[in-house]
């Protein structure tokens, strides 16, 4: 069997196994429950009341006067206010949650020695790709579930679902997955480096924070290199916030390239690691 086909087949098997972990194991069901609780509180105490507020004409006028210059008045262009609030909350929250949810791509298997059993049957590239794809599938499920809940809330308030609402939900889902790609790939790197998911999360937070501070200091003294800040994972989030519709995909290339680089790094790290 050609190597590439075998690698992709193995990656698919790993991804499927991660999906089983979400739906069929106690730990996976706990993750689902935690997500459900989190989104229940967000929907009940943030999205629902905020949607009523946003729907009022007076608030919209006041918001346009204050934030119009930042382009945030575009938020009113979403078909329903629930999706606008969901868009802001998820763009800001999910990258951080992603660091925690996807930290254990390889750590536990490294610690237990399970990777030794896997490495006898598949390449380390397929392990990295498979676990990464698995985590993306898991996050897709969680995003879809929370979007369905938000759409239900909006449909209940509006009295029905419209095609525009479904289209907006698809825009949100695709964009969120694009935003999460480099963060998940970043955790692939850190989980290939250390044997504890907590340490992987700490390393990721410290590295992102330190990287931003160092780069900012560098840019302060050498302003010509300001563009470098734009290459940090998640920097497109601030540009996406005031946008809506499929035009958001104009920022898709950067996270895709970041993901490619980070996954290559994770593969190199795991390949060079003693199991």
């Amino acid at each position: 069997m050609p190597k590439l086909i075998m690698t992709l087949q193995h990656a698919g098997l790993y991804a499927g196994f991660e999906l089983r972990r979400l739906w069929l194991t106690r730990r996976g069901l706990m993750t689902l429950a935690a997500t459900a609780v989190l989104w229940f509180f967000l929907l009940r105490y943030a999205i629902a009341p905020a949607s009523d507020l946003i729907a009022s004409e007076g608030f919209q006028q006041m918001f346009r006067d204050v934030f119009g210059a930042f382009g945030l008045s575009q938020l009113f262009a979403w078909p329903v206010p629930e999706l606008a609030i969901y868009w802001i909350l998820s763009l800001l929250l999910l990258p951080l949650l992603c660091l925690f949810f996807t930290a254990n791509q390889l750590c536990s298997d490294l610690e237990r020695g399970t990777l030794r059993l896997l490495a006898l049957r598949s390449s380390r590239l397929s392990i990295v790709l498979g676990r990464f794809s698995g985590q993306m599938l898991v996050q897709s499920c969680l995003i879809l579930l929370s979007l369905v809940a938000t759409l239900s809330l909006a449909a209940w308030r509006e009295g029905g679902l419209t095609l525009a609402m479904l289209n907006a939900a698809a825009v949100i889902a695709v964009n969120l997955l694009l935003v999460l790609l480099p963060f998940t790939a970043l955790m692939s790197c850190f989980s290939a480096m250390v044997r504890s998911s907590r340490l992987a999360v700490s390393l990721a937070i410290v590295s992102l924070g330190l990287g931003f501070v160092l780069l900012s200091s560098f840019v302060f003294y050498f302003p010509d290199f300001l563009f470098l800040l734009g290459y940090m994972p998640g920097t497109q989030v601030m540009q996406l916030l005031p946008m809506q519709g499929w035009q958001t995909l104009q920022y898709a290339m950067l996270p895709l390239l970041q993901t490619l680089v980070l996954l290559s790094g994770a593969t190199v790290l795991l390949t060079r690691k003693a199991l």
Partner: protein, 303 residues
């Protein structure tokens, strides 16, 4: 004879500690090789290099002509790595199925294969149980079972019977013995008795160096051995009488009531009969008389 493992000038260091030094050896198809050595001799490091878990600093290790760890060896080389454990979130059956799928089996065949290999180690009933619900010995046997999924041509076993009760250890030895015609094995163990029963080839590692590489076929015709276990503790008198036998080259007491006699069969073809006659003539009783030396004597007793 087909070479299955070929190691040339393997070297590995961890920091300032040299674990393997210029290690070279070859194993051939059908060999059941024992890897012996004191703690810290480099056995597990050698295993890890052969499995592709570690890279040597220099030299190379090739299995079936491919670099150790190469994708061409998936499914051909299986191993019981030291301390490798199953994922506690899934049942043993699910994980064995998954390993089978990775080895290219269909879902249905993988499930049948899982049942087959669990039956080999007497764990048929544990298919649906999670690893955490099994005892240490059962987990070890399940880990051995995964090494037999599909049709591996070489199985590397690191301490396969350590931690097993005597009955299950015997079953594992019988399993290895039964499969040893069709599968080549390399077994690392501190149990000399076990290795003596199973292996026809011995690699003795000490301080990362190969001290001995002996093969059971390499019989030196000029020198053969008999190991005599006595019932009484009167080795001195018996030794004195046996020293008079023609053909005897050397005799020494390896432990209480155990004598090892080295002789030249070309000088006395019936040396074993002469020993028995000598014992009978003096009324000395013996427990057993074994041709050859034990592996322990070969490795650790200078003759």
């Amino acid at each position: 004879m087909n070479t299955i493992i070929q190691c040339q000038q393997l070297a590995k260091r961890f920091g300032s500690k040299t674990v393997l030094q210029q290690l070279s050896f070859e194993l051939h198809q059908g060999d059941v090789a024992a890897l012996i050595g004191p703690n810290g001799a480099g056995k597990t490091t050698l295993f890890s290099i052969l499995c592709g878990y570690l890279r040597p600093d220099s030299g190379n290790a090739r299995i079936f002509g491919h670099k150790a760890g190469s994708s061409a060896l998936f499914g051909k080389v299986a191993a019981l790595p030291q301390d490798a454990q199953f994922d506690p979130a899934f049942s043993i059956g699910e994980q064995l199925d998954f390993y089978g799928r990775l080895q290219g089996l269909s879902s249905k065949t993988a499930r049948e294969e899982s049942k087959r290999v669990l039956a080999l180690v007497g764990l048929t009933e544990q298919l649906q149980h999670k690893a955490g619900a099994l005892s240490h010995g059962m987990r070890k046997r399940a880990a051995i079972a995964q090494a037999f999924i599909g049709a591996p041509q070489l199985v590397l076993l690191d301490e396969p019977t350590a931690g097993l009760d005597p009955v299950n250890a015997l079953h594992i030895r019988q399993l290895i013995s039964r499969l040893s015609g069709e599968v080549s094995f390399m077994i690392s163990s501190h149990n000399i008795f076990e290795l003596e029963q199973l292996c026809n080839n011995v690699l003795y590692l000490e301080n990362g160096q190969l001290k001995q590489h002996s093969n059971s076929d390499n019989t030196v015709q000029q020198l053969q051995h008999l190991t005599l276990h006595l019932e009484q503790d009167n080795s001195d008198a018996i030794s004195a009488a046996l020293r008079q036998l023609p053909g005897l080259i050397d005799l020494h007491c390896t432990q209480r009531r155990e004598l090892v006699l080295s002789y030249n069969p070309q000088h006395n073809a019936d040396f074993d009969l002469a020993v028995l006659q000598c014992l009978a003539a003096n009324g000395w009783r013996y427990r057993n008389l074994t041709k050859g030396q034990t592996l322990e004597q070969k490795l650790f007793t200078p003759v």
